[in-house]
């Protein structure tokens, strides 16, 4: 027997999105119905957004834009692909997509962990502000654009202009990088970075399966931090 009380199931073919999200918002951390299942998401946008409690939500299928947007504390697992802006502005908690994610996954996220089993499209981690993102596949162009803090870990390859106009986000890529964006440079991978990588990979369930020294580290050259006329071509 499962220690947790029976699953709460919402079939979006029969129940409205509004009812689902309202119920998720009304749930408290203490409520014993802690595992939620969402059936037939059928690409709906804004599924399981704005949760503010340590719930576990499993979504059986593909979701549209902004799934798990602004998530706080909850674990949201998507057994499918996710549309634009997956877990955008996430504050804390855990979001895991078993398939691929579209553009702007983890955009502006402040905290928590986003794991993408497949590939992420363009602008993964754009404007990230503290979130950790682990992508098992590859990421598209302009990923981590203006990334402020947090880490983006890519086991596959990165597209063009990785880390353009980067602030202090830490980027790690195991495969190839098509090109680096303005003010993004390769940096030495020291032991402290390997430790960080190991910790994040462990949190993503990849402990012991990935060699951390196979990654390259990228970060900000900090040349655009204060305007200088000689850098005008980069603006």
């Amino acid at each position: 027997m499962n220690a947790i009380s029976p699953d709460l199931t919402f079939d979006l073919a029969a129940t409205s999105l509004r009812e689902l999200n309202a119920a998720l918002h009304a749930a408290t951390g203490e409520s014993n119905a802690r595992r939620w299942r969402v059936l037939n998401p059928n690409g709906r946008h804004a599924v399981a957004v704005g949760i503010n409690a340590p719930l576990t939500v499993e979504i059986e299928g593909h979701v549209g834009y902004y799934c798990a947007g602004m998530n706080a504390e909850a674990s949201v697992i998507i057994h499918g692909n996710a549309g634009v802006g997956l877990a955008e502005n996430m504050m804390s908690g855990f979001v895991h997509v078993r398939g691929d994610a579209s553009q702007a996954a983890g955009a502006t996220g402040h905290g928590g962990l986003l794991v993408i089993d497949g590939n992420a499209s363009a602008r993964c981690g754009i404007s990230m502000k503290g979130i950790d993102i682990v992508v098992k596949g590859s990421v598209g162009h302009m990923s981590a654009f203006m990334g402020q803090s947090g880490s983006l870990i890519v086991l596959g390859d990165a597209g063009e202009a990785l880390g353009d106009s980067l602030y202090e986000a830490k980027l790690f890529v195991r495969g190839s990088v098509k090109s680096l964006g303005a003010d993004c440079i390769e940096k030495e991978l020291r032991d402290e970075h390997k430790a960080l990588l190991a910790e994040k990979l462990k949190a993503a369930g990849l402990e012991g399966t990935v060699d951390v020294s196979a990654f390259k580290r990228y970060g900000s050259a900090r040349q655009l931090y204060n305007f200088h006329v000689d850098n005008a071509s980069a603006y």
Partner: protein, 445 residues
């Protein structure tokens, strides 16, 4: 030799094209290699509300008695979808200005002044401060491309959400806050290192275009359980289409900011050359709402150079539901006050012309993060001044509305107006004074 002295001399003559200000700017550019950045709005003269007059009542319409007969000023915003629309006692709201651009004291004073008269204030790029939330009875939370400080806790504390697509001072431009103003507190709120130039993106990171915006609005409504009015703010550039698209995307309220609108820091070339004066933008915006059957259902807030109750009345007569003020509110708090003339002189300027708001050296303690300078602004007294000023604007608008025979300021209409110039007549769609001629009324925008 002496023969020459009898010949009339041509006095030195400045070129209208290469006037002294232009020459100075060329020299400044040549010396520094960087464009001029400043605060404030358009400084050149553009067609504005001054070019319109009210006709007042006489034989064909009768006026209302001042002080005795009621003239309503309340406005309800967000009636389309929001479960909790906002009711304001005056149609004059405080525009979004960021903590970072403004001191914490200035933000608090704005909240105090606005709350006293029953109107709203708005956050800005940089998030919500407790001082501001605490002192603002009604607070609109801006959702900007940078998303600095954006979080669901503050989102739920807000009374309305304003999705910023653009600003009148710089339609199509991002923001910047120069390193001098990135104090520890500002840096922490924005998750940035201290002292660096903070650039704000000009496009939202997770959506592009009106179809995406519709989905974004749905997400924000779902997160906040459809309670809060959602505003969409645009700079005046293609108002007919922009307003139509904002309505299509599901906005409850549209905010339209004209080129005169203030900014905390933008390139001068942008401030002076991009976007429409608000006078030219209101009618196309209202037309879009009317064509969609949404006028007064989706409320329209306009801003950009609003200074007096007359400006308010004119904006409402052209079809707006409310106005927003930025610069004027700062002046009411004490910005550019002649009492600091010596200090303005020391900064190479003079009271009334000071616009280096990005440098963080404001003697009045408003556009600064310097603790000593910002401590000069007493939020209680400054809030009182703002409340007084907002009351005056409201009374002035009522005075005009009564003179036009209206029992509510929203009953003012274009038929109450004439224009003093051909340009203003064409832009505002009202007749040139003394004629029945409305230039350009052959349809289409």
């Amino acid at each position: 030799m002496t023969a020459h002295s009898n010949v009339p001399r041509t006095p030195p003559r400045f070129s209208a094209t290469f006037d002294p200000a232009t020459l100075a700017e060329i020299r400044r550019a040549a010396a520094t290699g960087i464009y001029d950045i400043r605060g404030g709005g358009t400084k050149r003269k553009v067609p504005h509300f001054d070019d319109l007059l009210f006709l007042g009542a006489s034989m064909s319409r009768y006026p209302l008695e001042g002080y005795r007969e009621k003239c309503g000023t309340e406005v309800v915003l967000g009636t389309r979808f929001a479960k909790k629309p906002i009711t304001l006692k005056t149609p004059v709201t405080i525009a979004g200005m960021s903590f970072g651009a403004l001191s914490a004291q200035a933000k608090e004073a704005l909240g105090r002044g606005a709350s006293t008269v029953g109107t709203s204030t708005t956050t800005g790029d940089g998030g919500m401060t407790p001082e501001e939330r605490g002192q603002s009875q009604t607070l609109v939370y801006q959702y900007l491309p940078s998303r600095y400080g954006m979080n669901p806790v503050d989102l739920r504390k807000a009374d309305a959400i304003e999705i910023v697509i653009g600003q009148g001072a710089k339609p199509g431009g991002g923001g910047m806050l120069l390193g001098q103003k990135i104090s520890d507190r500002v840096a922490a709120m924005r998750n940035l290192p201290k002292g660096i130039d903070q650039r704000s993106a000009c496009r939202h990171p997770d959506w592009t275009g009106p179809d995406d915006l519709e989905i974004k609005i749905e997400e924000l409504r779902e997160i906040t359980d459809w309670e809060k009015p959602i505003y969409v703010k645009v700079g005046a550039s293609r108002p007919y289409y922009d307003i139509a698209l904002a309505v299509k995307a599901g906005a409850d309220v549209v905010v339209l900011d004209g080129m005169q609108g203030g900014t905390a820091a933008t390139q001068d070339v942008f401030i002076e050359n991009v976007g429409l004066p608000i006078l030219a933008a209101i009618r196309p915006a209202v037309q879009a709402l009317q064509d969609l059957g949404m006028h007064r259902k989706v409320q329209l807030i306009v801003s950009g150079g609003i200074r007096s109750g007359a400006d308010v009345a004119k904006a409402l007569a052209l079809g707006a539901d409310a106005v927003a003020i930025g610069t004027a509110a700062l002046v009411a708090l004490g910005d550019n006050d002649p009492q600091y003339e010596d200090e303005y002189q020391a900064l190479g300027t003079t009271a009334g012309a000071y616009d280096d708001w990005h440098e963080g050296l404001d003697p009045a303690g408003i556009t600064t993060q310097d603790p000593a300078l910002s401590a000069r602004l007493d939020p209680v007294k400054a809030g009182r001044r703002l409340a007084n000023y907002l009351s005056v604007m409201t009374l002035e608008a009522q005075t005009i509305a009564r003179a036009c025979g209206k029992s509510h300021v929203h009953n003012l209409e274009p038929e109450d107006l004439v224009a003093l110039t051909v340009e203003a007549a064409a832009m505002a769609g009202v007749p040139l004074a003394g004629t029945s001629w409305i230039p350009g009324r052959t349809g289409g925008y």
